[in-house]
């Protein structure tokens, strides 16, 4: 499996990671090597095997819907890099 630098840039954009050119070159080589190593799972016959995304098999764990105190506004904003008037403050999402 060979990952090109172009593919690495595409994946970085999907993951919203700004990478340096040096990181792009390094990850292209390292991720290719890791994917090569991972090729060994392709040889396993899994034609009738269900996936295991997690081991417990619990579904729809229910509890009574009773209101509980949550974080108050001050606590919720206490780690925010930027806030205003009791809200998280972000840059404009749509650019002009």
């Amino acid at each position: 499996m060979h990952l090109t630098q172009e593919e690495v840039r595409h994946v970085a954009e999907l993951a919203k990671l700004r990478l340096t050119e040096a990181e792009v070159r390094q990850y292209a080589a390292q991720l290719s090597a890791i994917l090569d190593y991972a090729e060994r799972i392709q040889e396993v016959d899994t034609s009738s095997v269900p996936p295991t995304p997690y081991v417990l098999g619990l579904e729809n764990v229910m509890r009574d819907d009773e209101p509980q105190p949550g974080l108050d506004n001050e606590a919720a904003l206490s780690n925010a890099p930027d806030s205003a008037n009791g809200f998280f403050r972000v840059r404009a999402v749509f650019e002009e």
Binding site: A15, T20, T52
Partner: protein, 499 residues
């Protein structure tokens, strides 16, 4: 030089196990304040070289100790009353900075406390501080911590293992009586083996993950690092059990795990898997583990050769499944609600730069790998395929546990490696977890216990793996082995080249 702690007339307070310290406080021999001060003095004396702690919370610890002494004077005997412990810095602690070893969370003050830590608090713990970890628990050496690398107390030139390397080193160097760690692919057991302490990874669902800052949610589990097996049982007694704040935490009531420590392994069937004794592992590790199994046989256990045929697929399955989960879990670090923000002019540029600058190399590598495995065109070949092979790995264990009660194996293929030795080769670093990750993929429990030393006097760990919710069985076997040997009584040299 190794010295034998039993050769001393009396152990120093910081050298005590949790259960011995509790006895000492119950009998009035010393107070929690005295004990806590002894631990803080020990940290001041040795942590400049070991670097186990990211931060020591001395004032809070002494305040908790005073409170514990008042509770005891009033007749309280909570299970851990006055016991000074350390907490891995991926567990949220209200009012105490929690960084996950990452620049992106530097300065983060959690508004709530992880359930496991809250239960230790209720049981009377004194928290000494937060221990170093590979960034977001991604690593096997603590070298991926954004702040510094922890040094192995047995040789400062070597890694303590990881990712719970700070917790393992703190316990090994007598800088805490015990500690919590987390184990996603071996992050409690591998550092326990490399530092010569006991490391327990409970079954998936046994301990609440609420407040465990997520890496791979289907694999993460909080575990313990202690000086002996009885202390592991004591801590598990407190942290195990259902939690309305974690719907993947099982309702099954937790038994008294100390009651399982009977010392009797007669008739216990121990499986030795062919696939866990492989070319390339350190010969002294194989020899020590085989000798430890022979010791259990001498104690009355029955040894059975077994096979876990999909073992060699576990590592690639793990690095596709865990990284896929990580890529989703770590999407929350966007510079808006908490943590580092790059301060760029536009919304999306700020997210890209915040993440690019805030995450370290290994975290970015794993986010990239996981994003790729989940991306259009590759999902079936990588993510789905990995989950199918995970089913086969889980079935291997289910099949094995119809024949045996416990599986014995090495914890790590080698003893502690040198700092810097594997940092440039991700696959070589990933291979250090080759014997531990299967237990996480299958959701079963496992414990690492000291079982010898190599020629360089570095500790070796034996792993005992049990079925899902089989903690009583593996603790019973580990305790029986520990009673018959004296590996845990050796103290580390605390020498070597400290940076």
């Amino acid at each position: 030089m190794t010295h034998d702690k039993t050769a001393q007339d009396k152990r120093a307070l910081h050298e005590l196990t949790i259960h011995a310290a509790l006895e000492g406080m119950r009998s009035g021999e010393f107070t929690s304040v005295q004990l806590t001060q002894a631990l803080l003095d020990r940290i001041a004396a040795v942590d400049g070289n070991v670097k186990a702690y990211l931060r020591v919370t001395a004032e809070k610890a002494l305040a908790q100790a005073e409170k514990a002494d008042r509770r005891r004077a009033a007749g309280d005997d909570a299970p851990l009353l006055g016991a000074p412990l350390a907490i891995k810095d991926v567990l949220a602690t209200s009012g105490v900075e929690t960084t996950c070893g990452s620049r992106i969370l530097q300065g983060f003050m959690p508004p709530y406390t992880a359930t496991a830590v809250a239960r230790l608090n209720d049981a009377g713990m004194v928290m000494l501080g937060k221990t170093n970890t590979d960034e977001f628990a991604m690593g096997s050496s603590t070298e991926n911590s954004a702040f510094f690398t922890t040094h192995n107390p047995w040789d400062f030139d070597r890694v303590p293992g990881g990712s719970s390397g700070g917790s393992a080193a703190a316990v090994a160097a007598d800088e805490a009586l015990g500690a919590l760690g987390t184990d996603t692919g071996g992050s409690v057991r591998q550092p326990a083996a490399l530092c010569g302490v006991v490391g327990l990874k409970p079954s998936y669902g046994r301990v609440s993950r609420f407040g465990l800052i997520a890496y791979g949610s289907s694999l993460d589990q909080i575990g313990t690092l202690t000086k002996d097996v009885r202390d592991a049982a004591l801590l598990l007694n407190v942290i195990a059990g259902s939690d309305p704040l974690d719907s993947t935490c099982l309702e099954t009531p937790a038994p008294d795990y100390t009651a399982a420590l009977t010392g009797d392994v007669r008739g216990l069937r121990i499986g030795l898997p062919d696939e866990y004794f492989i070319d390339g592992m350190q010969p002294e590790v194989e020899a020590s583990v085989r000798q430890a199994v022979a010791e259990l046989e001498r104690l009355g256990a029955e040894v059975v050769r077994i096979s876990l045929p999909n073992t060699d697929k576990a590592l690639p399955v793990y690095y596709l499944a865990a990284t896929a989960e990580a890529s989703a879990n770590l999407a929350r670090y966007d510079g808006v609600r908490f943590g580092y923000s790059a301060g760029a002019d536009s919304m999306f540029e700020n997210i890209r730069r915040t993440r690019g600058e805030g995450f370290g190399a290994e975290v970015k590598r794993r986010i990239m790998l996981g994003t790729y495995a989940l991306s259009a065109g590759y999902y079936d070949a990588y993510y789905l395929k990995a989950q199918q092979v995970r089913t086969l790995i889980k079935r291997d264990f289910e099949q094995a546990f119809t024949q045996v009660d416990v599986i014995a194996a090495p914890t790590s293929p080698t003893t502690a490696f040198r700092i810097g030795e594997k940092v440039d080769d991700p696959i070589q670093m990933y291979l250090t977890d080759i014997f531990t990750i299967s237990a996480n993929l299958a959701g079963v429990c496992a414990v690492s216990v000291p079982c010898g030393f190599d020629k360089a006097n570095l500790p070796i760990g034996m792993q005992l793996i049990g079925p899902h919710l089989g903690e009583e069985t593996i603790l019973r076997a580990a305790d029986a082995y520990e009673r018959a040997t004296d590996w845990q009584r050796h103290a580390p040299a605390l020498t070597g080249r400290a940076s």
